[in-house]
Symmetry: none
Subunit: 379 residues, 2 copies
Amino acid sequence: MSHDRDDERLARVALCRLTEPGDPRLTGLVSQLGAVRVHDHLANERDLDGMLSDVASRLAGLEPQRELEQATRLGIRFVMPGDDEWPVQLGDLDHCGHVQERGGAPVGLWVKGPLRLDQQQDSVAVVGARSATTYGSDVASAIAAEVAAAGLCVVSGAAFGIDIAAHRGALAARGSTIAVLACGVDRVYPAAHRQLLEHLARHGAVVSELAPGSAPTRHRFLARNRVIAALARGTVVVEAAVRSGALNTANWTDRLSRRLMGVPGPVTSAPSAGVHQLIRTGAASLVTCGAEVLEQLGAAGDHALAEPRAAPRVRDQLRRRDAQVLDAVPVSSPAQADSIARAAGVGLVDTQAALGRLERGGFAVQAVGGWLLGPTGRT
Amino acid sequence: MSHDRDDERLARVALCRLTEPGDPRLTGLVSQLGAVRVHDHLANERDLDGMLSDVASRLAGLEPQRELEQATRLGIRFVMPGDDEWPVQLGDLDHCGHVQERGGAPVGLWVKGPLRLDQQQDSVAVVGARSATTYGSDVASAIAAEVAAAGLCVVSGAAFGIDIAAHRGALAARGSTIAVLACGVDRVYPAAHRQLLEHLARHGAVVSELAPGSAPTRHRFLARNRVIAALARGTVVVEAAVRSGALNTANWTDRLSRRLMGVPGPVTSAPSAGVHQLIRTGAASLVTCGAEVLEQLGAAGDHALAEPRAAPRVRDQLRRRDAQVLDAVPVSSPAQADSIARAAGVGLVDTQAALGRLERGGFAVQAVGGWLLGPTGRT
């Protein structure tokens, strides 16, 4: 059994090198034949579904055993289906179809960092534009901090803009956070994020389908997005222009029937246009803060969501008759008590008594020519 | 007959003075007994549903005939149900219940300005916070200008902030715009808007349920909001804090089963919080520009075409049924055939056949998520 697992592990490590992440032919074959048989077929140069021609050039120099040992020395582990640490929610990728010829659960994940992936099922992806505004970055940080403080794990990429702001927010709240890369977890891309990626590798987790050393490509970013969407119970898109890569993650979220949420922004801001489109078409729910994200994920439980409300107004505590008279007190052009009484539909004596009480509360004031709303009445 | 109408007019002018706008007891009695009988009962100090005690103090000094003559001298007319100019859509207020003890169609409207109310059935209300941001004011102006340029009439109040920005936008586009006041149409409130109100009275219309000379009160603002909502086919809320009066207009729009729309803004901006709440709860649809407002109102078909009927359009040669379906095809946000069928009021099978013909003509295209206007459909 353990021997079988070792063979399986070596086969999957090899397949990670042989194929591009999210190749739906591979993931289909693996779930049909098993990783060992697929690997053995290809390693023996027997064709499978036309894949051999694609992988032939990569067959030479495969050393999965050595690769695993090297990774271990770098503090990197390989996690695969059947391992305790495997995040089972990734299995949903095998049943949600393909997007732009990418799909299926990863063959395995390379992981660096102390966070155990299987213990982060309460995760929320926070993604968005690289060219984020200060507004978008601030909101992404605030939302990530709020959900992390509530015990959820934040998942994102490691790009400029929203990704990095999300990790920073989660870390500031001393919460859990996972970066999913489109290159090997030993690589630093973009270079400016070295410090943050090192910090994540010490306190959170850095994850990739790609073997250590692999370089990022556009294809790999797109394949990576499906892993972000699948790891999380829902995705929050903070800013995304109409053709942003974040909308690809949104698309995967939708396919996976996970919760898709969008943070609105100024309609004059291009980085918000894609998010507004998602909300407008009903693909995403509008959220404005972490509490609303928790509510959308059904995670509100303890973090009970109060409907956003202004502070209760003193006015609400007035007796009904006084409120009725107050409604008839003009905001400009003072009126006499008798005309207020008429406007309120309340007798003159009652009106005068009410006006006295309203004046003491600052709701009404006496001005030249009669009564006016006071400072309390205007709030 | 004309004599009856005169009696009716005098009775309604008197009732405007006797009662507060939107008193649901009055509107109920008027639709039950007729304005003349209600007026005569009250004028003869016979009680009706407990109203006499409220109106008794106002009975003395009623001079409806003189009031009408004075108004005419000021260029103000009184429009009531049965008049050619009466905006019949206000009748919906008699069938949509009450909000905070206000409701029912106005007994009549005092109008100043050249715009005929009955010709503004394609109206859209643009409302929002007094304490609007520059962002909110700019967006309100832009949206108002866009819908006004498309031939719709803008309806709003005359307050600082969004109201005034909406009128300015409509006027800048040389469009129609109506201000509904919570005081007499001869009054200027707020005083800073004298110039704009005078301009509206010369080029648009200034409207009120309240007789000339009446002062604004909080009650009257709330009653006024229902008239704004009822005059328009839909309401756009641009900025509204969580306890903004604009949400009262939104509430009326919802009750009247008119289209409610909200413009998002930064989640960090208090004046957008009320709008986000409306969108989040599904009460309002998110809109970001005038074209989306037109689409929501189903007005895109005609109005998306800026200079209509300059040259005969290919569209005009479509068979009637196809044109009907085409009018229900969205300009953005794809819709499925069944929802287009519903919008067009055409059976699903016929709709599908029509969509096939429209696709061949380039009028409609199939996109992700359904049907959209095609290149020919947009010209």
